[in-house]
Protein backbone atom coordinates (compact mmCIF):
# COMPACT_ATOMS: atom_id res chain seq x y z
CA UNK A 1 0.00 0.00 0.00
CA UNK A 2 2.72 2.42 0.99
CA UNK A 3 4.28 2.43 -2.45
CA UNK A 4 1.27 2.81 -4.68
CA UNK A 5 0.26 6.37 -5.41
CA UNK A 6 -3.36 6.83 -4.39
CA UNK A 7 -5.80 7.45 -7.26
CA UNK A 8 -7.09 10.31 -5.17
CA UNK A 9 -5.34 11.90 -2.22
CA UNK A 10 -7.29 14.41 -0.17
CA UNK A 11 -5.35 16.43 2.40
CA UNK A 12 -6.78 18.87 4.88
CA UNK A 13 -9.75 19.83 2.72
CA UNK A 14 -12.14 22.36 4.22
CA UNK A 15 -15.12 23.97 2.57
CA UNK A 16 -17.32 26.68 3.85
CA UNK A 17 -20.26 28.27 2.15
CA UNK A 18 -20.62 31.80 3.44
CA UNK A 19 -19.28 31.06 6.90
CA UNK A 20 -21.03 27.70 7.20
CA UNK A 21 -18.52 24.89 7.45
CA UNK A 22 -19.56 22.02 5.21
CA UNK A 23 -16.28 20.10 5.25
CA UNK A 24 -13.74 20.17 8.07
CA UNK A 25 -10.17 19.08 7.54
CA UNK A 26 -10.81 16.03 5.38
CA UNK A 27 -7.99 13.55 4.74
CA UNK A 28 -8.69 10.59 2.50
CA UNK A 29 -6.82 8.24 0.19
CA UNK A 30 -8.57 6.31 -2.54
CA UNK A 31 -6.55 3.30 -3.68
CA UNK A 32 -6.51 2.60 -7.42
CA UNK A 33 -8.86 -0.10 -8.62
CA UNK A 34 -11.14 0.15 -5.63
CA UNK A 35 -14.74 1.13 -5.12
CA UNK A 36 -15.40 3.54 -2.30
CA UNK A 37 -18.89 4.32 -1.08
CA UNK A 38 -19.43 7.49 0.91
CA UNK A 39 -22.33 7.14 3.32
CA UNK A 40 -23.80 9.54 5.80
CA UNK A 41 -26.89 11.48 6.73
CA UNK A 42 -28.18 14.31 4.54
CA UNK A 43 -26.14 17.45 5.02
CA UNK A 44 -23.09 15.53 6.20
CA UNK A 45 -21.02 16.93 3.33
CA UNK A 46 -20.75 13.79 1.17
CA UNK A 47 -21.80 15.42 -2.08
CA UNK A 48 -19.71 18.49 -1.38
CA UNK A 49 -16.65 16.32 -0.80
CA UNK A 50 -17.31 14.52 -4.08
CA UNK A 51 -17.70 17.82 -5.92
CA UNK A 52 -14.46 19.06 -4.40
CA UNK A 53 -12.61 16.09 -5.89
CA UNK A 54 -12.98 17.49 -9.42
CA UNK A 55 -13.06 21.07 -8.23
CA UNK A 56 -16.70 21.73 -9.19
CA UNK A 57 -16.74 23.15 -5.69
CA UNK A 58 -13.38 24.67 -4.86
CA UNK A 59 -12.22 23.74 -1.36
CA UNK A 60 -11.59 26.72 0.93
CA UNK A 61 -8.37 25.03 2.07
CA UNK A 62 -6.43 21.86 1.54
CA UNK A 63 -5.26 19.99 -1.52
CA UNK A 64 -6.39 17.22 -3.80
CA UNK A 65 -4.19 15.07 -6.00
CA UNK A 66 -5.36 12.78 -8.73
CA UNK A 67 -2.75 10.08 -9.39
CA UNK A 68 -0.23 12.28 -7.65
CA UNK A 69 -1.02 15.32 -9.83
CA UNK A 70 -2.54 18.34 -8.10
CA UNK A 71 -5.93 19.62 -9.23
CA UNK A 72 -7.35 23.09 -8.71
CA UNK A 73 -4.48 24.63 -6.81
CA UNK A 74 -0.76 24.38 -7.35
CA UNK A 75 1.81 24.64 -4.59
CA UNK A 76 1.71 24.12 -0.88
CA UNK A 77 -0.89 25.72 1.29
CA UNK A 78 0.74 29.05 1.94
CA UNK A 79 2.03 29.64 -1.54
CA UNK A 80 -0.88 27.94 -3.28
CA UNK A 81 -2.24 29.61 -6.37
CA UNK A 82 -5.23 28.59 -8.46
CA UNK A 83 -4.62 26.60 -11.62
CA UNK A 84 -5.48 28.40 -14.81
CA UNK A 85 -8.67 27.30 -16.51
CA UNK A 86 -6.96 25.26 -19.18
CA UNK A 87 -4.90 23.22 -16.71
CA UNK A 88 -7.97 22.66 -14.57
CA UNK A 89 -9.96 21.47 -17.59
CA UNK A 90 -7.13 19.11 -18.52
CA UNK A 91 -7.00 17.72 -14.99
CA UNK A 92 -10.74 17.17 -15.04
CA UNK A 93 -10.55 14.99 -18.14
CA UNK A 94 -9.03 12.31 -15.93
CA UNK A 95 -12.07 12.29 -13.65
CA UNK A 96 -15.44 11.08 -14.90
CA UNK A 97 -18.57 12.24 -13.18
CA UNK A 98 -22.11 10.91 -12.98
CA UNK A 99 -24.69 13.32 -11.62
CA UNK A 100 -27.81 12.70 -9.59
CA UNK A 101 -30.02 14.30 -12.22
CA UNK A 102 -28.08 12.86 -15.20
CA UNK A 103 -27.16 16.28 -16.64
CA UNK A 104 -27.17 14.92 -20.19
CA UNK A 105 -26.87 17.48 -22.96
CA UNK A 106 -30.41 17.60 -24.39
CA UNK A 107 -29.48 18.87 -27.86
CA UNK A 108 -27.17 15.93 -28.56
CA UNK A 109 -28.12 12.36 -29.30
CA UNK A 110 -27.18 9.60 -26.90
CA UNK A 111 -24.09 8.85 -28.98
CA UNK A 112 -23.41 12.59 -29.28
CA UNK A 113 -23.41 12.87 -25.50
CA UNK A 114 -20.97 10.00 -25.24
CA UNK A 115 -18.55 11.25 -27.92
CA UNK A 116 -18.72 15.00 -27.22
CA UNK A 117 -15.83 15.28 -24.78
CA UNK A 118 -13.63 12.52 -26.29
CA UNK A 119 -13.80 14.22 -29.71
CA UNK A 120 -13.75 17.89 -28.73
CA UNK A 121 -11.72 17.84 -25.54
CA UNK A 122 -9.37 14.88 -26.03
CA UNK A 123 -9.21 15.31 -29.79
CA UNK A 124 -9.88 11.66 -30.63
CA UNK A 125 -10.90 10.99 -34.21
CA UNK A 126 -14.68 11.05 -34.47
CA UNK A 127 -14.94 7.68 -36.17
CA UNK A 128 -12.90 6.00 -33.48
CA UNK A 129 -14.80 7.75 -30.68
CA UNK A 130 -18.11 6.75 -32.20
CA UNK A 131 -17.10 3.11 -32.52
CA UNK A 132 -15.95 3.08 -28.92
CA UNK A 133 -19.07 4.99 -27.83
CA UNK A 134 -21.32 2.43 -29.49
CA UNK A 135 -19.51 -0.44 -27.85
CA UNK A 136 -19.79 1.22 -24.42
CA UNK A 137 -23.49 1.79 -25.02
CA UNK A 138 -23.84 -1.86 -25.97
CA UNK A 139 -22.16 -2.84 -22.71
CA UNK A 140 -24.75 -0.93 -20.69
CA UNK A 141 -27.55 -2.37 -22.82
CA UNK A 142 -28.36 0.75 -24.82
CA UNK A 143 -26.96 -0.08 -28.26
CA UNK A 144 -30.27 0.59 -29.96
CA UNK A 145 -30.69 3.99 -28.30
CA UNK A 146 -27.50 5.52 -29.74
CA UNK A 147 -29.28 7.82 -32.17
CA UNK A 148 -32.16 8.87 -29.92
CA UNK A 149 -32.35 12.11 -27.98
CA UNK A 150 -32.16 11.96 -24.17
CA UNK A 151 -35.74 13.13 -23.61
CA UNK A 152 -37.04 9.89 -25.13
CA UNK A 153 -35.29 7.77 -22.48
CA UNK A 154 -36.39 6.62 -19.04
CA UNK A 155 -34.50 7.79 -15.97
CA UNK A 156 -32.60 4.52 -15.68
CA UNK A 157 -31.61 4.68 -19.34
CA UNK A 158 -30.51 8.30 -18.97
CA UNK A 159 -28.29 7.39 -16.05
CA UNK A 160 -26.75 4.52 -18.02
CA UNK A 161 -26.02 7.00 -20.82
CA UNK A 162 -24.43 9.30 -18.24
CA UNK A 163 -22.24 6.43 -17.05
CA UNK A 164 -21.29 5.67 -20.67
CA UNK A 165 -20.41 9.32 -21.18
CA UNK A 166 -18.04 9.13 -18.22
CA UNK A 167 -16.53 5.81 -19.38
CA UNK A 168 -15.86 7.16 -22.87
CA UNK A 169 -13.26 9.52 -21.42
CA UNK A 170 -11.30 6.48 -20.14
CA UNK A 171 -10.98 8.33 -16.86
CA UNK A 172 -8.66 7.43 -14.02
CA UNK A 173 -11.57 7.52 -11.62
CA UNK A 174 -15.33 8.01 -11.84
CA UNK A 175 -17.30 9.98 -9.27
CA UNK A 176 -20.97 9.12 -8.73
CA UNK A 177 -23.13 11.69 -6.97
CA UNK A 178 -26.17 9.81 -5.67
CA UNK A 179 -26.64 8.08 -9.03
CA UNK A 180 -29.94 6.42 -8.15
CA UNK A 181 -31.60 9.06 -5.97
CA UNK A 182 -33.57 10.61 -8.82
CA UNK A 183 -34.77 7.27 -10.18
CA UNK A 184 -38.07 5.48 -9.82
CA UNK A 185 -37.57 2.41 -7.61
CA UNK A 186 -37.95 -0.06 -10.47
CA UNK A 187 -35.06 1.59 -12.34
CA UNK A 188 -32.57 1.62 -9.49
CA UNK A 189 -31.56 -1.98 -10.14
CA UNK A 190 -30.49 -1.53 -13.75
CA UNK A 191 -28.18 1.36 -12.84
CA UNK A 192 -26.70 -0.37 -9.79
CA UNK A 193 -26.17 -3.46 -11.97
CA UNK A 194 -24.00 -1.46 -14.35
CA UNK A 195 -21.98 0.07 -11.51
CA UNK A 196 -21.54 -3.36 -9.94
CA UNK A 197 -20.18 -4.64 -13.24
CA UNK A 198 -17.68 -1.77 -13.41
CA UNK A 199 -16.55 -2.49 -9.86
CA UNK A 200 -15.90 -6.09 -10.86
CA UNK A 201 -13.74 -4.84 -13.74
CA UNK A 202 -11.57 -2.93 -11.30
CA UNK A 203 -12.49 0.63 -12.22
CA UNK A 204 -11.68 3.17 -9.54
CA UNK A 205 -14.95 4.64 -8.34
CA UNK A 206 -16.15 6.93 -5.58
CA UNK A 207 -19.87 6.68 -5.00
CA UNK A 208 -22.03 8.85 -2.81
CA UNK A 209 -25.10 6.78 -2.19
CA UNK A 210 -28.05 6.10 0.07
CA UNK A 211 -28.27 2.49 -1.08
CA UNK A 212 -26.93 0.70 1.97
CA UNK A 213 -27.20 -2.86 0.77
CA UNK A 214 -25.57 -1.92 -2.53
CA UNK A 215 -22.72 -0.22 -0.69
CA UNK A 216 -22.25 -3.23 1.52
CA UNK A 217 -22.20 -5.46 -1.49
CA UNK A 218 -20.04 -3.55 -3.94
CA UNK A 219 -17.69 -1.35 -1.94
CA UNK A 220 -14.12 -2.18 -1.01
CA UNK A 221 -14.15 0.73 1.41
CA UNK A 222 -16.93 2.53 3.24
CA UNK A 223 -16.38 6.14 4.19
CA UNK A 224 -18.86 7.35 6.76
CA UNK A 225 -19.36 11.09 7.04
CA UNK A 226 -21.24 13.14 9.55
CA UNK A 227 -21.20 16.84 10.34
CA UNK A 228 -18.64 17.64 7.64
CA UNK A 229 -16.10 15.15 8.99
CA UNK A 230 -15.08 11.62 8.09
CA UNK A 231 -16.05 9.54 11.13
CA UNK A 232 -15.07 6.11 9.86
CA UNK A 233 -13.19 4.48 7.04
CA UNK A 234 -13.66 0.72 7.07
CA UNK A 235 -14.36 -2.36 5.02
CA UNK A 236 -18.07 -2.93 4.47
CA UNK A 237 -17.93 -5.99 6.70
CA UNK A 238 -16.38 -4.09 9.60
CA UNK A 239 -18.53 -1.04 9.09
CA UNK A 240 -21.85 -2.83 8.99
CA UNK A 241 -21.14 -5.49 11.62
CA UNK A 242 -18.92 -3.58 14.03
CA UNK A 243 -19.17 0.19 13.57
CA UNK A 244 -16.73 1.96 15.84
CA UNK A 245 -18.66 5.16 16.44
CA UNK A 246 -22.07 5.63 17.98
CA UNK A 247 -23.08 7.88 15.14
CA UNK A 248 -22.37 5.16 12.60
CA UNK A 249 -24.28 2.68 14.75
CA UNK A 250 -27.29 4.97 14.81
CA UNK A 251 -27.02 5.57 11.11
CA UNK A 252 -26.91 1.85 10.30
CA UNK A 253 -29.80 1.14 12.66
CA UNK A 254 -31.95 3.72 10.96
CA UNK A 255 -31.11 1.98 7.73
CA UNK A 256 -31.19 5.17 5.77
CA UNK A 257 -29.52 8.52 5.66
CA UNK A 258 -32.71 10.49 5.93
CA UNK A 259 -34.83 9.59 8.89
CA UNK A 260 -38.15 8.63 7.37
CA UNK A 261 -41.21 10.19 8.93
CA UNK A 262 -42.78 7.54 11.18
CA UNK A 263 -45.76 5.58 9.87
CA UNK A 264 -44.97 6.49 6.28
CA UNK A 265 -44.95 2.88 5.24
CA UNK A 266 -47.37 1.56 7.85
Amino acid sequence: MAETVPAIAVRGVCKDFGGFEVLRDIDLDIAPGTTTCILGPSGSGKSTLLRCLNWLDAPSAGSIRIDGEPIGRIGTDKAARPMDRRALAAARTRIGMVFQHFALWPHLTVLGNVTEAPVHVLGRPRREAEAEGRSILARVGLAEKADMYPHTLSGGQKQRVAISRALAMRPRVILFDEPTSALDPEMVGEVLGVIRELAREGLTMVIVTHEMSFARDVADTIVFMEGGCIREVATPHDFFTAPRTDRAKGFILRGSSTPEPPLKKA
Binding site: N54, L56, R85, R86, A89, A90, A91, R92, T93, I95, G96, M97, F99, H101, A103, L104, W105, P106, H107, E116, A117, H120, V121, Y149, H151, T152, R165, M169
Partner: protein, 218 residues
Protein backbone atom coordinates in the same frame (compact mmCIF):
# COMPACT_ATOMS: atom_id res chain seq x y z
CA UNK B 1 -55.47 54.17 -64.78
CA UNK B 2 -56.28 51.67 -62.01
CA UNK B 3 -54.01 51.88 -58.93
CA UNK B 4 -52.90 48.25 -59.08
CA UNK B 5 -52.02 48.69 -62.74
CA UNK B 6 -49.77 51.52 -61.63
CA UNK B 7 -48.14 49.19 -59.12
CA UNK B 8 -47.64 46.52 -61.79
CA UNK B 9 -46.13 48.99 -64.22
CA UNK B 10 -43.77 50.20 -61.50
CA UNK B 11 -42.90 46.72 -60.35
CA UNK B 12 -39.21 47.34 -60.89
CA UNK B 13 -39.41 50.22 -58.39
CA UNK B 14 -41.07 47.90 -55.87
CA UNK B 15 -38.58 45.14 -56.51
CA UNK B 16 -35.73 47.58 -56.08
CA UNK B 17 -37.26 48.78 -52.80
CA UNK B 18 -37.97 45.27 -51.56
CA UNK B 19 -34.43 44.26 -52.56
CA UNK B 20 -33.00 47.06 -50.45
CA UNK B 21 -35.21 46.13 -47.51
CA UNK B 22 -34.11 42.49 -47.76
CA UNK B 23 -30.43 43.32 -48.21
CA UNK B 24 -30.52 45.73 -45.26
CA UNK B 25 -32.23 43.21 -43.00
CA UNK B 26 -29.97 40.34 -44.08
CA UNK B 27 -26.86 42.49 -43.71
CA UNK B 28 -28.09 43.61 -40.32
CA UNK B 29 -28.67 40.00 -39.17
CA UNK B 30 -25.33 38.86 -40.52
CA UNK B 31 -23.70 41.44 -38.26
CA UNK B 32 -26.04 41.70 -35.30
CA UNK B 33 -26.51 37.98 -34.61
CA UNK B 34 -22.80 37.37 -33.91
CA UNK B 35 -22.46 40.79 -32.25
CA UNK B 36 -25.51 40.05 -30.10
CA UNK B 37 -24.00 36.71 -29.03
CA UNK B 38 -20.71 38.41 -28.27
CA UNK B 39 -22.42 41.15 -26.26
CA UNK B 40 -24.42 38.53 -24.35
CA UNK B 41 -21.21 36.62 -23.52
CA UNK B 42 -19.69 39.84 -22.20
CA UNK B 43 -22.88 40.59 -20.24
CA UNK B 44 -22.65 37.09 -18.73
CA UNK B 45 -18.94 36.61 -18.22
CA UNK B 46 -17.02 39.87 -18.10
CA UNK B 47 -15.73 41.60 -14.99
CA UNK B 48 -18.06 44.13 -13.40
CA UNK B 49 -16.88 47.42 -14.95
CA UNK B 50 -17.04 46.22 -18.56
CA UNK B 51 -20.22 44.28 -17.95
CA UNK B 52 -21.95 47.26 -16.37
CA UNK B 53 -20.83 49.62 -19.07
CA UNK B 54 -22.22 47.35 -21.77
CA UNK B 55 -25.44 46.78 -19.83
CA UNK B 56 -25.95 50.56 -19.61
CA UNK B 57 -25.24 50.95 -23.31
CA UNK B 58 -27.72 48.21 -24.20
CA UNK B 59 -30.36 49.79 -21.97
CA UNK B 60 -29.72 53.19 -23.50
CA UNK B 61 -30.08 51.88 -27.04
CA UNK B 62 -33.30 50.14 -26.16
CA UNK B 63 -34.70 53.43 -24.86
CA UNK B 64 -33.87 55.46 -27.98
CA UNK B 65 -36.53 55.64 -30.71
CA UNK B 66 -35.06 53.98 -33.77
CA UNK B 67 -35.71 56.99 -35.98
CA UNK B 68 -33.67 59.20 -33.67
CA UNK B 69 -30.77 56.77 -33.85
CA UNK B 70 -30.96 56.81 -37.65
CA UNK B 71 -30.95 60.63 -37.58
CA UNK B 72 -27.87 60.65 -35.38
CA UNK B 73 -26.02 58.24 -37.66
CA UNK B 74 -27.03 59.87 -40.94
CA UNK B 75 -27.19 63.56 -40.07
CA UNK B 76 -25.18 63.70 -36.86
CA UNK B 77 -22.04 61.69 -37.59
CA UNK B 78 -20.94 63.79 -40.62
CA UNK B 79 -20.51 66.66 -38.18
CA UNK B 80 -17.99 64.46 -36.36
CA UNK B 81 -16.31 63.64 -39.64
CA UNK B 82 -17.94 60.32 -40.48
CA UNK B 83 -20.08 60.57 -43.59
CA UNK B 84 -22.02 57.48 -44.65
CA UNK B 85 -24.31 57.26 -47.64
CA UNK B 86 -27.91 56.54 -46.77
CA UNK B 87 -27.86 52.75 -47.30
CA UNK B 88 -24.80 52.32 -45.10
CA UNK B 89 -26.15 54.72 -42.49
CA UNK B 90 -29.33 52.63 -42.53
CA UNK B 91 -27.36 49.41 -42.11
CA UNK B 92 -25.31 50.80 -39.24
CA UNK B 93 -28.30 52.15 -37.32
CA UNK B 94 -30.35 49.01 -37.92
CA UNK B 95 -27.43 46.82 -36.79
CA UNK B 96 -26.63 48.78 -33.65
CA UNK B 97 -30.29 48.87 -32.65
CA UNK B 98 -30.98 45.19 -33.36
CA UNK B 99 -27.78 44.09 -31.62
CA UNK B 100 -28.96 45.73 -28.40
CA UNK B 101 -32.20 43.76 -28.44
CA UNK B 102 -30.54 40.51 -29.50
CA UNK B 103 -27.96 40.87 -26.72
CA UNK B 104 -30.79 40.88 -24.18
CA UNK B 105 -32.51 37.93 -25.88
CA UNK B 106 -29.30 35.88 -25.88
CA UNK B 107 -28.38 36.86 -22.36
CA UNK B 108 -31.68 35.63 -20.96
CA UNK B 109 -31.52 32.50 -23.14
CA UNK B 110 -28.03 31.73 -21.79
CA UNK B 111 -29.41 31.94 -18.29
CA UNK B 112 -32.19 29.54 -19.17
CA UNK B 113 -29.76 26.75 -20.12
CA UNK B 114 -29.90 24.17 -17.33
CA UNK B 115 -27.14 24.75 -14.83
CA UNK B 116 -26.32 21.06 -14.47
CA UNK B 117 -25.72 20.94 -18.22
CA UNK B 118 -23.04 23.56 -17.87
CA UNK B 119 -21.61 21.89 -14.81
CA UNK B 120 -21.36 18.59 -16.69
CA UNK B 121 -19.47 20.37 -19.47
CA UNK B 122 -17.02 21.76 -16.93
CA UNK B 123 -16.63 18.39 -15.25
CA UNK B 124 -15.74 16.84 -18.62
CA UNK B 125 -13.04 19.42 -19.26
CA UNK B 126 -14.77 21.54 -21.91
CA UNK B 127 -13.11 24.93 -22.22
CA UNK B 128 -15.15 28.12 -21.97
CA UNK B 129 -15.18 28.46 -25.72
CA UNK B 130 -16.25 24.83 -26.26
CA UNK B 131 -18.91 25.29 -23.60
CA UNK B 132 -20.44 28.15 -25.57
CA UNK B 133 -19.94 26.69 -29.03
CA UNK B 134 -20.95 23.11 -28.32
CA UNK B 135 -23.35 23.23 -25.38
CA UNK B 136 -24.90 26.66 -24.84
CA UNK B 137 -25.31 28.17 -28.32
CA UNK B 138 -26.82 25.10 -30.02
CA UNK B 139 -29.44 24.95 -27.27
CA UNK B 140 -30.02 28.68 -27.37
CA UNK B 141 -30.45 28.68 -31.16
CA UNK B 142 -33.39 26.33 -30.69
CA UNK B 143 -34.95 27.70 -27.52
CA UNK B 144 -34.59 31.38 -28.43
CA UNK B 145 -35.74 30.95 -32.05
CA UNK B 146 -39.24 32.36 -31.45
CA UNK B 147 -37.83 35.47 -29.76
CA UNK B 148 -35.19 35.91 -32.43
CA UNK B 149 -37.93 35.56 -35.06
CA UNK B 150 -39.94 38.31 -33.35
CA UNK B 151 -36.89 40.52 -33.31
CA UNK B 152 -36.28 39.94 -37.02
CA UNK B 153 -39.85 40.98 -37.78
CA UNK B 154 -39.37 44.09 -35.65
CA UNK B 155 -36.19 44.83 -37.57
CA UNK B 156 -38.05 44.49 -40.87
CA UNK B 157 -40.65 46.97 -39.62
CA UNK B 158 -38.03 49.36 -38.28
CA UNK B 159 -36.28 49.34 -41.64
CA UNK B 160 -39.31 51.16 -43.08
CA UNK B 161 -38.40 54.21 -41.03
CA UNK B 162 -35.15 54.43 -42.98
CA UNK B 163 -37.07 56.10 -45.83
CA UNK B 164 -36.88 59.25 -43.70
CA UNK B 165 -33.10 59.28 -44.17
CA UNK B 166 -33.69 58.66 -47.90
CA UNK B 167 -32.86 54.95 -48.01
CA UNK B 168 -34.66 53.58 -51.06
CA UNK B 169 -36.27 50.65 -49.32
CA UNK B 170 -39.77 49.24 -49.78
CA UNK B 171 -41.74 52.00 -48.03
CA UNK B 172 -39.73 54.60 -49.86
CA UNK B 173 -40.62 52.87 -53.15
CA UNK B 174 -44.33 52.74 -52.29
CA UNK B 175 -44.28 56.40 -51.30
CA UNK B 176 -42.46 57.30 -54.48
CA UNK B 177 -44.97 55.53 -56.73
CA UNK B 178 -47.98 56.87 -54.86
CA UNK B 179 -46.70 60.44 -54.99
CA UNK B 180 -45.86 60.31 -58.66
CA UNK B 181 -49.16 58.77 -59.70
CA UNK B 182 -51.53 60.29 -57.13
CA UNK B 183 -52.87 56.85 -56.13
CA UNK B 184 -52.00 56.23 -52.47
CA UNK B 185 -54.02 53.09 -51.80
CA UNK B 186 -52.63 50.45 -54.16
CA UNK B 187 -48.93 51.21 -53.79
CA UNK B 188 -49.11 51.19 -49.99
CA UNK B 189 -51.29 48.08 -49.99
CA UNK B 190 -48.76 46.38 -52.23
CA UNK B 191 -45.99 47.34 -49.81
CA UNK B 192 -48.02 45.96 -46.91
CA UNK B 193 -48.40 42.71 -48.85
CA UNK B 194 -44.68 42.47 -49.43
CA UNK B 195 -43.90 43.14 -45.76
CA UNK B 196 -46.39 40.41 -44.85
CA UNK B 197 -44.65 38.04 -47.22
CA UNK B 198 -41.30 38.72 -45.56
CA UNK B 199 -42.81 38.14 -42.13
CA UNK B 200 -44.30 34.84 -43.28
CA UNK B 201 -40.86 33.72 -44.42
CA UNK B 202 -39.45 34.50 -40.98
CA UNK B 203 -42.37 32.70 -39.34
CA UNK B 204 -41.73 29.66 -41.50
CA UNK B 205 -38.13 29.64 -40.31
CA UNK B 206 -39.25 29.84 -36.70
CA UNK B 207 -41.71 26.98 -37.20
CA UNK B 208 -38.93 24.90 -38.66
CA UNK B 209 -36.81 25.46 -35.56
CA UNK B 210 -39.86 24.63 -33.47
CA UNK B 211 -40.07 21.25 -35.20
CA UNK B 212 -36.39 20.63 -34.47
CA UNK B 213 -37.12 21.48 -30.86
CA UNK B 214 -40.00 19.00 -30.73
CA UNK B 215 -37.81 16.21 -32.06
CA UNK B 216 -34.97 16.89 -29.67
CA UNK B 217 -36.67 18.10 -26.53
CA UNK B 218 -40.12 16.50 -26.77
Amino acid sequence: MNGFQVVWENRDVFLWGAGNTVSLVLGCLLLSLPLGVLAAVVLTEAAAPLRRLLAELVDLLRCVPFLLLAYVVYYGLPELGLRLDSWWAGLVSLTVYTTAYLAEIFRSAFRAVAKDNIEAAQAFGLSRSLLYRRIILPQVAITAAPMIGNQIITTIRDSALLMIITVQELTFAANFVSANHFTPFAPFAAAVGLYLLLSFLVEAGVRRMERVRMVRYG
